[in-house]
């Protein structure tokens, strides 16, 4: 599919994402200006506050955006997942340039001019409104311009907390190794940033009194018109957001940020919609976000794997009996989180130790133990997840006594391509990954049974289950309904054949007659 075809097929979704992106940027900048400019003015009046406040704003900006989102999730009122959290983070990022430029702009007003203003008998308020703010306006608008361009960039990260925007395409593109998605997301975001920079540049010239006569009225009118359109879009978005009803019969379905999780979530979402339930999708949430969001109540359910719950969430030492793991997880979730664990869906998604098909055939390797002697000359590529978790790399290398020539930590979705293009020689992928067959990769058998079982299940809040009877019925139908091969095939339809996930799920559901 060429990029042009991709755009033709997806322009409706792309426009929606751009709109979401603009709304997030617009609202956050609006709030940041409403907070930042008065704060800046206050700082010019109280010298003692200047250092501490600017210091705090400075520190805010040095926190990596993904980490900031992470900090905000568990906080009450401002945290959780979705638009609100994204807005809080975006405002925090936008404050520094706005406050700093307000202070610099006002303090930069020529002392003799300020003195003349006072000597003419202006009150402090009049000095501020008639002299300082007009003369500082250019510098302040520069600050808003910088903040806006930063916000357009940071908003791409907002997709990680389910707030939407162009980051959805970027994250999805990275995960599915789909350049069209990546391009559409990144290029649109870049164009938005450039356009915002250009428009605010025109407005800035208009506001700085030296430039007032130089800007052509036509250019300013265009800038003003476009800015007005953005304001209207933002206002409509805000209005809609405020008006979203909290329906009784509404379920918020979440997923983690990989294809299979989104697929499983979509399956249940469509089944619920079929049964007349209103579904809100909060897909592609990073890290532990879905768990924390579900426990805090902003999410009703999401697909998970028993092994992940067992080790990463409940912090038990890995064991190998699937039944024992499932029972333990079910008990602990009911006691600790008031969350119900569904029947297993019928397949496991465990770590799959993969090597190239050629290597496997030439060296005649079938199990991890057989491959261990070759590890000394091999480079390994592992995702961040595998590197850090209890049942990941540290235990794995010890269990098989593995020593690699080099271990690279990289994005999980990129490891498959890295392996097939000989950048690395061994990876830990997902057993249901659709591209395993496509790229001619071979899974080595875990002959020492190191990896704990990872049965797919849905985790559902108990109160949701009680509130939405249709959910019970849908979950019962999905018990043991998906085989590993089926899952691999479904994943491949999306990652390999680049089909639309909703479409893939719809076809599959009708085949299964769910």
């Amino acid at each position: 599919m060429t990029f042009w075809q991709f755009l033709q097929n997806n322009w409706v979704e792309l426009v929606t994402l751009i709109k979401e992106h603009l709304v997030l940027v617009f609202i956050s900048i609006l709030i940041a200006v409403a907070i930042g400019v008065p704060t800046g003015i206050l700082l010019t009046r109280h010298r003692a506050l200047r250092g501490p406040v600017l210091g705090v704003a400075n520190i805010m900006q040095t926190i990596p955006s993904l980490a900031l989102f992470g900090f905000l999730i568990p906080l009450p009122f401002i945290g959780g997942i979705g638009t609100r959290t994204a807005l809080v983070a975006l405002v925090l990022y936008s404050l520094l340039p706005i406050i700093r430029n307000t202070v610099t702009g006002i303090l930069g007003v020529e002392p003799s001019v300020r003195e003349a203003a006072i000597a003419m008998g202006m009150t402090d308020g009049q000095v501020l409104r008639q002299v300082e703010l007009p003369l500082a306006a250019g510098v302040i608008v520069t600050g808003i311009r910088v903040a806006t361009v930063i916000a357009v960039g940071v908003t791409t990260i907002a997709a990680a907390v389910g707030a939407g925007g162009l980051g959805v395409y970027i994250f999805r593109g990275l995960r599915q190794y789909d350049n069209n998605l990546l391009l559409a997301g990144a290029v649109s975001a870049a164009l938005l940033a450039l356009a915002a920079d250009f428009l605010l540049g025109l407005i800035e010239r208009r506001f700085s009194y030296e430039g007032r006569r130089k800007t052509s009225p036509a250019a300013f009118k265009i800038a003003f018109a476009v800015a007005a359109v953005v304001v209207v879009i933002g206002a409509v978005g805000l209005w809609r957001y405020a008006k979203t009803p909290a329906a009784q019969n509404r379920v918020v379905v979440g997923s983690k940020d990989f294809t299979e999780s989104a697929l499983l979530a979509e399956i249940l979402a469509q089944m619920l919609e079929e049964r007349g339930v209103t579904v809100e999708r909060r897909f592609e949430l990073g890290g532990n976000l879905p768990h924390e969001a579900m426990v805090s109540g902003t999410l009703d359910l999401y697909p998970e794997y028993t092994g992940t719950s067992y080790t990463a969430i409940l912090h038990h030492t890995p064991i190998t009996d699937p039944r024992a793991v499932y029972e333990q997880v079910k008990r602990d979730y009911a006691n600790n989180f008031k969350v119900e664990v569904s029947q297993p869906l019928g397949f496991e998604n465990t770590f799959a130790i993969l090597i190239r098909g050629n290597d496997a055939r030439q060296l005649n390797l079938k199990t991890i133990s057989e491959a261990a002697p070759h590890a000394r000359t091999w480079r390994a590529g592992f995702g961040q997840d595998f590197m850090s978790r209890a049942d990941g790399y540290p235990g794995f290398s010890k269990a098989y006594n593995l020593k690699f020539a080099e271990v690279r930590e990289m994005d999980l979705s990129l490891t498959y391509i890295a392996l097939s293009s000989k950048q690395v020689d061994l990876i830990a992928g997902n057993s249901t990954e659709g591209r395993i067959a496509q790229l001619d990769l071979v899974q080595l058998v875990d002959d020492r049974h190191y990896f704990p079982p990872y049965e797919a299940v849905y985790l559902v809040r108990e109160d949701t289950l009680a509130r939405v009877p249709q959910l019970q019925e849908a979950l019962a139908r999905l018990a043991n309904a998906i085989s590993t091969d089926e899952m691999r095939q479904l994943n491949y339809e999306i990652d390999g054949n680049k089909r639309d996930p909703k479409e893939v799920v719809r076809t599959w559901l009708s085949q299964k007659q769910f």
């Binding site: 003799s112 003349a116 006072i118 000597a119 003419m120 008998g121 202006m122 002299v131 007009p134 003369l135």
Partner: protein, 247 residues
């Protein structure tokens, strides 16, 4: 002396000013008579600008008091006091983002005049300082020459017809020819309007040309208070030093 005090517009009574323990002005006693042009003469740092700023309460005395129209500046509402006093500084201190008309009309507009009265007054004042209203009202300060800006500065200070004008080196940044002609016009104008003026300068020629009385200041003290003739005749060594620069 009591008669003089009755006719005084501004009185300095034992005024001292120190900033972070540095004495800027020491025990100043001085009466400014109605209608006179008092010139404070001295080199930079002698306390002459400080003296000026005490009058419209841009600064306050550390001890003693400054009395304007029979009332100590600390008793005045500072805003009312300042709108009552014209203030002219070097280069006019004009607002760069205001047109000439808005600059001149500022104090009237702050005082709540209606627009047509302000417009009329602005034209009147521009004529008074020798600028053509039709050419200048809608211009910005940066489009004017230094001399024109200075005229606008004087017009702005005169806007609400204040009894007292404070001028801080008003002609300092001008070329000698422009300066000389503006000085003449100013002397003429203040005489005609019967204004009281306190003018600060380091230029002895300007002092001699404009002053009814000259106050010579040095290191925060008033050394001498004399008419121009008295100043020329003085034996004070500082005054002699200024005299010598003239020949």
């Amino acid at each position: 002396m009591t008669d003089a005090a009755d006719n005084s517009l501004v009185q300095f009574k034992n005024v001292s000013v120190s900033l972070s323990n540095n004495p800027i002005l020491s025990e100043l006693n001085l009466n400014v008579e109605r209608g006179e042009t008092l010139v404070l003469l001295g080199e930079s740092g002698c306390g002459k600008t400080t003296t000026l700023k005490l009058v419209n309460r841009l600064l306050q005395p550390s001890s003693g008091e400054v009395v304007v129209e029979g009332k100590a500046t600390t008793q005045w509402d500072p805003i009312a006091l300042r709108r009552h006093i014209g203030y002219v500084i070097q280069e006019g201190g004009l607002f760069p983002h205001f047109t000439i008309a808005r600059n001149i009309g500022l104090v009237p507009s702050l005082s709540g005049w209606n627009q047509s009265r302000i417009d009329k007054r602005v034209r009147e004042l521009l004529n008074l300082v020798g600028l053509d209203p039709d050419r200048f009202t809608d211009r910005y300060p940066r489009e004017l020459s230094g001399g024109q800006r200075q005229r606008v500065g004087v017009a702005r200070a005169l806007a609400v017809d204040p009894p007292l004008m404070l001028l801080d080196e008003p002609f300092g940044a001008l070329d000698p020819l422009t300066r000389a002609s503006l000085q003449r016009e100013f002397a003429d104008l203040s005489h005609r309007l019967g204004k009281t003026a306190i003018l600060v300068t380091h230029d002895v020629r300007e002092a001699l040309a404009l002053a009814t009385r000259i106050g010579l200041m040095h290191k925060g003290r008033l050394l001498l208070l004399e008419t121009p003739d008295g100043f020329r005749a003085s034996n004070n060594p500082q005054a002699r030093a200024y005299q010598e620069t003239l020949s």
